[in-house]
């Protein structure tokens, strides 16, 4: 049995009538890793997650979990647990019973399952709220309970459907740290669906960018950020300027671009359209004479040494080695 990979998708497709939501994707997620499925809405990332969970039938292909083909198995027999986007806590049950639900279904006695549920509520620091109903909790608290409810099933793979989207930005950063810590401590694979590239880059060991039912690129966040394979990826990941180079499209990280005067290196000139102060950095957006928009992300000190404003003509310069030639158009 091959256990180097926790999840393997082999030519997995999902068809809804005539439309192809997921088109023969193949993916291998290494053991005990944090994998983020990333993409714009409608790219098939949630459908993929739901197929792994068993809440969506696979049209063709196979899904393996730790080497075992689970394509036809019921959700509970797959070794997966899912955390739903809206958390899907049972509104008529208190936190303790919500967490103990899967044990109850397995026929575990009341005392034992409650003791176990307390343990998991403890793990997510929600032990004090055991008797509360979900409606009496904040979004962040509900999320923790949902996490405990999923983890109590001792899954080999935890599936998270946009777990942070309902939280406010501050909480989102805090909770994502906790998710990462839990994943490391538990040593299981998390598959996390998100449309936020920040979230994916912060969390993922492996980042899978999807579009139109296809996987466009997968790899470590650093790999994807440094070497986007296509203009779509470069734009979607953000902070890249996509320009045309001598041998096809090139991507240059916005933070490697500066405003300056045409010299020996590559440059593009245009007119500034916006200046955004972002604290440590200043983002200067411009419309190039060649057509596409571009931006420079500069340290505030550099910007204020020679400030410019919207409407000013400007030249964007970068070093030749920072231009990444993309393989696909």
């Amino acid at each position: 049995m091959d256990t180097r990979f926790d999840v393997e998708l082999i030519e997995v497709s999902k068809r809804y009538g005539a439309t192809l939501a997921v088109d023969a994707i193949s993916l291998r997620i290494p053991a005990a890793s944090y994998c983020c499925l990333l993409g714009p809405s409608g790219c098939g990332k949630t459908t993929t997650l739901r197929m792994i969970a068993g809440h969506e039938a696979i049209s063709s292909g196979d899904i393996l979990i730790q080497g075992q083909n689970i394509s036809e198995l019921a959700p509970v027999r797959r070794g997966t647990a899912m955390m739903f986007q809206s958390y899907a806590l049972f509104p008529h049950l208190n936190c303790l019973d919500n967490v103990a639900f899967s044990l109850k279904m397995r026929g575990v006695g009341k005392a034992e399952r409650h003791a176990k549920a307390r343990e998991f509520l403890d793990l997510v620091q929600m032990a004090d709220f055991a008797q509360r109903l979900p409606a009496q909790l904040s979004g962040g608290q509900q999320q923790r309970v949902a996490l405990a409810r999923a983890l109590i099933m001792r899954p080999k793979v935890l599936l998270l459907d946009e777990p942070l989207s309902a939280l406010d930005p501050f909480l989102r950063i805090k909770v994502r740290e906790e998710l990462k810590r839990l994943q490391r401590e538990l040593g299981i694979t998390f598959v996390h669906v998100t449309h936020s590239q920040d979230e994916a880059m912060a969390l993922a060991d492996m980042m899978v960018v999807m579009q139109d039912g296809h996987i466009r690129q997968s790899g470590s966040p650093r790999e994807v950020f440094e070497k986007p394979v296509s203009p779509f990826i470069a734009r979607f990941i953000g902070s890249h300027n996509v320009l045309s180079g001598p041998s096809g499209p090139i991507a240059i990280r916005a933070d490697r671009c500066r405003l300056g005067v045409p010299g020996e290196g590559p440059f593009v000139s245009g007119r500034i359209t916006a200046v955004e102060y972002q604290g440590a950095m200043v983002r200067v957006a411009m419309m190039t004479d060649l057509g596409p928009e571009a931006a420079a992300l500069m340290p505030d000190r550099d910007f204020y040494a020679d400030p410019v404003g919207p409407g000013d003509p400007a030249t964007l310069i970068w070093a030749e080695r920072d231009a990444h030639v993309m393989m696909e158009a």
Binding site: H55, A74, P75, S86, F90, P91, F101, M105, R106, M153
Partner: protein, 306 residues
């Protein structure tokens, strides 16, 4: 600015220029409650008090006389036929409740969770509801030619060779009464239950499945607890309808069963208003007790304000 027409500031000023009637908060509340209160007190509370008073009156063949005596109640409660009729009505109520609950829950579940297309769902709901646009009496009578001795159903059975001679129990029997009740009242169950079910997030059912719940456990542990207010509300409607029925029992049992209201009607036709009033009071109290018991299990009011 030359023109003054389209300015929202001007509109606001004009509105303020009108003399505005300002009622204190308590008066607004009374105005809102008033019409319904008026209707309920004139058409419901007043008559109820009236026959509460009359139920203590004395009577003879020629008239009724104001008095305060408990004889009407004593007589009513000591007559074995009263008890028989109550038991029979209660029996109908329980059987019909069980059948409409089973049917209604399943139909509602199907409509809410299995019909994905909202257009189709609306059409199917209308199919359930449209028969209610005709009178219940007509729909009840419609069963007579179907279930009769030479009715359509018997003819079908005989044509198929299922029976040699027509089945007699189909019409003018308890069976016919129950069939008609179920036909008339199942929608009363479907409505409230479908309403409760449609508030259940479908992700909850997936979450239950994810946690290893079978279909049955998902029902008993998630769906039914979350729809119990709808179930209670539907039960309440069906139960009170059956207990207060007059026409169906009279028509469909062929005079073999009596209902509480038909007992009452006989007394009214004989101009025995005080015993009829006593009878009505007992029915009201009985139904009120049953409703109170149901409310103890599930607080329906919570569902109504949601």
């Amino acid at each position: 600015m030359g023109t003054t027409t389209a300015s929202p500031i001007f509109a606001a000023e004009r509105r303020m220029a009108w003399p505005r009637l300002r009622f204190p908060a308590w008066a607004v509340s009374w105005l809102q409650v008033g019409p319904m209160m008026l209707i309920l007190s004139v058409l419901f509370a007043l008559p109820t008090f009236l026959f509460l008073a009359v139920s203590f009156f004395d009577y003879d063949r020629t008239g009724i006389y104001p008095a305060f005596m408990l004889d009407n109640y004593k007589e009513l409660l000591s007559t074995p036929s009263t008890w028989r009729v109550y038991v029979s009505s209660l029996k109908f109520a329980v059987i019909v409740w069980a059948i409409t609950l089973g049917l209604g829950f399943n139909v509602a579940y199907f409509l809410v969770f299995h019909i994905r297309n909202s257009m189709l769902r609306t059409v199917l709901f209308l199919l359930c509801a449209i028969p209610f646009w005709t009178s219940g009496i007509i729909r009840a009578i419609a069963w007579v030619p179907f279930l009769g001795r030479n009715g359509a159903f018997n003819q079908i059975l005989m044509a198929l060779g299922v029976t040699q001679r027509p089945l007699e129990f189909l019409l003018f029997s308890d069976f016919a009464v129950i069939v008609t009740y179920v036909h008339l009242f199942t929608l009363l169950m479907i409505g409230p239950i479908a309403n409760s079910l449609s508030k259940i997030d479908p992700a909850l059912i997936e979450a239950a499945r994810d946690a290893g719940a079978s279909r049955w456990r998902t029902m008993t542990d998630v769906v039914i607890p979350l729809s119990k207010t709808g179930i209670a509300l539907g039960s309440l409607l069906v139960f009170t309808q059956v207990m207060g029925d007059y026409f169906v029992v009279k028509t469909m049992s062929g005079g073999q069963s009596a209902s509480i209201v038909s007992m009452l009607s006989t007394e009214i036709q004989a101009m025995q208003y005080p015993p009829a009033s006593a009878n009505a009071m007992v029915l009201v109290i009985f139904v009120a007790i049953m409703v109170a018991l149901m409310m103890r299990v599930v607080d329906v009011r919570k569902e109504l304000v949601k």
